[in-house]
Subunit: 161 residues, 2 copies
């Protein structure tokens, strides 16, 4: 059993992040890393990733649950202050792991800031056309690298205060 | 300010639930009520509603955060034991409140159990055709009253142990 667990964790992309993968780390705690998401369908969208391999919320330790609360507070405050998010959409899903025949999810939580106004970055304007409704599942999530860098820099600066 | 808050809470549907609304209460803690959702697009879908008017996760008290953890554990265990859910999708969104000109959300959290097998109730079979993917946003959510009663009874019985 131990051997199997080690083997599966070796295959977990969240357990073996490269320096490049960690490039967009906006903040961290002892137990969690927070990355700017590759998908910027909602400007400032981030992902909270547990540093150890663990498959579900009920398996979190006391400290991990407590740090999660601190990060929820910190991220909501930062996304509201930096980009003027009106509300944050939080979700813990893990569905994609269940495409595998032997699912072995790595706990992570998405936060999508939602906007009642356009967000402007480097001359580009990003609109939350679904504001007041569920986040879109198939919205364009690509933004120019320079805009991504600006989102990252502004968020990281705020979170490092 | 106090007057305004009281006024808005009076208009909050979650602050003024009728006995009929509370008919499908599956369990509760000091701070939270858990109801079987009207929407049964995923069999056993429930909604955790904070008993006091509060608009976001960062505003939860220590006790409310702690009880939320206990309910997450309890609900995941029950949905897995009773219906064989493979994973639970958790989300805290509150988007619909932001359709209003003066949004005043009441904190609630959705849990959608996800299934890698059909669930049979009263001769009807319910499939999670999107298993391994994000939950569907516009799936048929109506089930016969007798099936709803069975879901409620089975879940409540398990949660009362």
């Amino acid at each position: 059993m131990r051997y199997r667990q080690v083997g599966m964790m070796d295959n977990c992309e969240w357990c073996s992040l490269s320096e490049e993968d960690r490039r967009f780390l906006v903040c961290e705690s002892a137990a969690w890393s927070v990355f700017l998401s590759d998908e910027q369908d909602y400007i400032g969208r981030c992902i909270l990733v547990l540093k150890r391999h663990c498959s579900s919320l009920p398996e979190l330790t006391d400290d991990e649950w407590s740090e999660l609360r601190e990060l929820v507070c910190k991220m909501e405050a930062a996304l509201k202050a930096v980009f003027g998010a009106a509300v944050c959409n939080w979700s813990c899903l893990m569905n994609s792991f269940y495409k595998e025949s032997a699912p072995d999810p790595h706990l992570h939580i998405h936060v999508r800031p939602r906007y009642d106004h356009p967000v402007t970055l480097g001359g580009n304007t990003y609109c939350d056309g679904e504001f007041g409704h569920h986040y879109a599942l198939h919205k364009s999530a690509a933004i120019p690298d320079s805009d991504r860098e600006e989102v990252f820099a502004r968020l990281k600066e705020r979170l490092s205060r």
